[in-house]
């Protein structure tokens, strides 16, 4: 009887498996006609279902940008929501082509898991939120404050380090659960709430009066979030990496979704190279000459995507900060396309 069960399970399994010939990822993706993109199960601003049930967010835009570069069509993406435990397995097992899921770039991940980080789509890090009424403008003013913290996390340690390094003191009000921390801060049991700044922002958007709260400009830890590809396919890695750079380069050169057609006639040689008017940088990475034009045409540049999903005009309302271009005081920087 068990044999029957096993053979039934096997038959069912084999009947519904999709086998793909394993060449390079680009040819595979082109052959199946869509890009399989691993995303979160819902993190506001990064990858979350929007009101019309489509995935949207900063990290979703990256997948769409890659699809635009490969297919000239940003809709040819399929999304696989992944938990944080299964994300790397899914990537190395080839279930997804690219992982764009609020993944922090660390050395051990980069070197030990058989994966490569493409770049930093978003420089996240631990920040502080306070009530505007308290009149605090900088984390340096927080000496003696009561801070709501989730216990047993790196958040707690980071805060302790930061205060010790700056010769300040604080009273930790510790909770085991993130929701309790938020509740305690809302109820006024502490002056400050600290966690990663993107999470601060999305929690703030749920408050009854989000405008009464301020996220301080200081970031006290490094959480660079970026897309990830499998190791061992340098062509695919280059496509992902230069998709990211093209988004940055377009912003730096002032090429936007709205003016990209106009910019085709620009005299600026850097714009000409970016948009494929002069030289051909797409073919060597297996794409078309106008790959970057397609990215900007479909997605816009990095700044536009940022503004759309997490920028100050959205309910999340995060200032550019470290994520501004290098010339605006941030650290987003693209090597020249030439």
């Amino acid at each position: 009887m068990s044999k029957k069960i096993i053979s039934f399970a096997l038959a069912a399994t084999l009947g519904l498996t999709a086998t793909t010939a394993y060449a390079d990822i680009l040819s595979d993706v082109k052959a199946k006609g869509y890009l399989q993109c691993g995303v979160t199960g819902g993190v506001a601003g990064f990858s979350a279902p929007d009101s019309s049930n489509n995935w949207s967010g900063l990290e979703v835009d990256f997948c769409r940008a890659m699809a635009a570069a490969i297919f000239n069509d940003s809709e040819k993406v399929r999304y696989t929501p992944l938990t944080s435990q299964e994300r790397f397995t899914a990537l190395s097992a080839g279930e997804i082509d690219i992982l764009s899921r609020t993944t922090t770039w660390t050395m051990s991940r980069d070197t030990q898991l058989g994966i490569n980080f493409v770049g930093t789509m978003f420089y996240d890090g631990q920040g502080f939120m306070v009530r505007k009424a308290d009149g605090i403008a900088s984390a340096k003013d927080l000496s003696g404050a009561a801070i709501c913290i989730e216990s047993g996390t790196t958040t707690e340690l980071n805060a302790a380090d930061y205060f010790a390094a700056n010769g300040m003191e604080f009273n930790a009000v510790v909770f085991v659960d993130q929701d309790e921390v938020v509740k305690a801060y809302e109820d006024g049991r502490c002056d400050v709430y600290t966690t990663d700044s993107s999470a601060l922002a999305s929690e703030r958007s749920k408050f009854a009066n989000p405008d009464d709260h301020l996220i301080l400009p200081e970031i006290i830890s490094k959480e660079p979030l970026g897309p990830v590809v499998r190791q061992g396919d340098d062509l695919w890695f280059n496509i992902a990496r230069w998709t990211y750079f093209a988004l940055l380069e377009a912003e730096e050169l002032g090429v936007t979704q709205a003016n990209v057609d106009e910019q085709l006639g620009s005299d600026n040689p850097a714009i000409k190279r970016l948009l494929g008017v002069e030289g051909d940088f797409g073919t060597p990475i297996g794409l078309t000459k106008d790959w970057a034009y397609q990215i900007v045409k479909h997605i816009g540049n990095y700044g536009e995507s940022y503004e759309r999903h997490v920028g100050p005009s959205t309910p999340i309302g995060l200032a550019r900060g470290l994520n501004a271009l290098w010339r605006d005081g941030g650290i987003q920087y693209s090597p020249p396309i030439r």
Binding site: K3, T17, T19, P81, T89, A93
Partner: protein, 374 residues
């Protein structure tokens, strides 16, 4: 003389019962204040209700924002449930990421399912055999073709886009429908005298019962891809379906074995003496009695299976609970009670389904009660 009557010729009109033993006050005395202990309990209960009801009322009704409200109404201090948010996102909770233009497909599946299931559950309606054939054999194929598409000019919709209540129902129905026959076979196998079959069944049952479902799902979604040849993937939903089915069939087997053990040896022997072979004996004599005994246990399994489907959310499948959780990240509806309202809605939906299952099983038990009830 003859006029004198010592015996009454008419009945004394009955008086109303003394007010101490009838009416509202007496009911109160009997049911709520019969003793000191009862009185205390009543007072504690009343205090609890007075303490609990007003905040609940103001959360669910009083301060709540009714469907059709706006997000601004939900974004105020001490707002109640934000039903407007549920109403706005209810499509997402039912269909997940299923393309909006293709909603008619899951709708057809729901309608067909109800159309086939209701007559199947209603004993008075004839054509049970045909009905069962349609429901258990034809319907799954239709569901697969309709939902998955890619045939008959239907646009393909990969399972990643299936979600919400649709997926919860698919997983639980597949689990329920497949685990019964598998469970029966395993239970019979475990009682078999053939050593290999018996050992295999015991091993299977004990293995699956000894592992938590969450581990099974993690194995299926994290370990399985590592064992597969590079580039070969099994659909995620299918992995969860197989995991849930095998898991629940092991439990089902033990429940059914309990029923089999309640059947006296004489029944088996009587069947054998009639010249029935093994399958006839089981099918005509033993199983109908055994299964009837264990209806509560079987339904218990169904209910816990239905609720356990929410565990698939940890492997990234968008069942009802997970869509509700994911929608919490929708900043267009960000409000203080957004998440709570979502969870309350999820609880209500689960309750409706589980409660109906439990009522139906009670009805079935009463109907099949042929003298075994104790």
């Amino acid at each position: 003389m003859s006029e004198t009557a010592y015996v009454r010729t008419e009945m004394v009109p009955s008086l109303p019962a003394p007010s101490r033993s009838s009416g509202f006050v007496a009911w109160l005395r009997k049911n709520l204040f019969a003793s000191v202990g009862d009185t205390l309990l009543t007072l504690v209960g009343a205090a609890f209700l007075i303490w609990a009801i007003p905040p609940l009322y103001s959360f669910f009704i009083g301060n709540a924002v009714p469907p059709g409200g706006t997000v601004e109404q939900c974004r105020v201090e001490s707002v109640g449930a934000c039903w407007a948010y549920i109403a706005a996102r209810v499509n997402f909770f039912i269909y997940g990421f299923y393309p909006i233009s293709e909603y008619w497909r899951p709708n057809t599946v729901f309608a067909l399912g109800a159309l086939l299931l209701i007559p199947l559950l209603w004993p008075r309606i004839p054509f049970k055999r045909l009905n069962a054939l349609l429901f258990f054999v034809v319907f799954p194929v239709v569901v697969y073709v309709l939902l998955n598409g890619g045939m008959f000019g239907l646009r393909p919709v990969p399972t990643e886009q299936w979600g919400g209540l649709l997926v919860t129902l698919i997983i639980s129905l597949v689990g329920i429908i497949c685990s019964i026959p598998l469970g029966i076979l395993l239970a019979l196998g475990r009682q078999s005298k053939l050593p290999i079959i018996k050992t295999l069944c015991v091993l299977f049952i004990e293995l699956w019962r000894a592992v938590p479902l969450i581990t099974v799902l993690f194995m299926a979604s994290i370990m399985l891809p590592l064992f597969m040849p590079q580039g070969m993937t099994v659909d995620k939903l299918l992995r969860a379906l197989v995991g849930v089915t095998l898991f629940s069939s092991a439990y089902m087997a033990e429940v059914i074995r309990g029923g089999l053990q309640a059947i006296g040896r004489g029944q088996y022997e009587a069947g054998a003496s009639l010249g029935l072979n093994y399958w006839q004996r089981m099918g005509f004599i033993v199983l109908p009695q055994a299964l009837k005994h264990v209806i509560p246990g079987i339904v218990n399994n169904f209910i816990s299976l239905f609720k356990d489907t929410s565990l698939v959310s940890i492997v990234g499948i968008f069942d009802l609970l997970n869509t509700i959780q994911a929608a919490t990240a929708d900043i267009n509806w960000a409000a203080p009670t957004q998440a709570v309202t979502g969870y309350v809605f999820a609880a209500a939906v689960y309750w409706v389904f589980c409660f109906s299952m439990s009522r139906y099983s009670l009805y079935m038990e009463r109907r099949l009660n042929t003298g075994h009830k104790r």
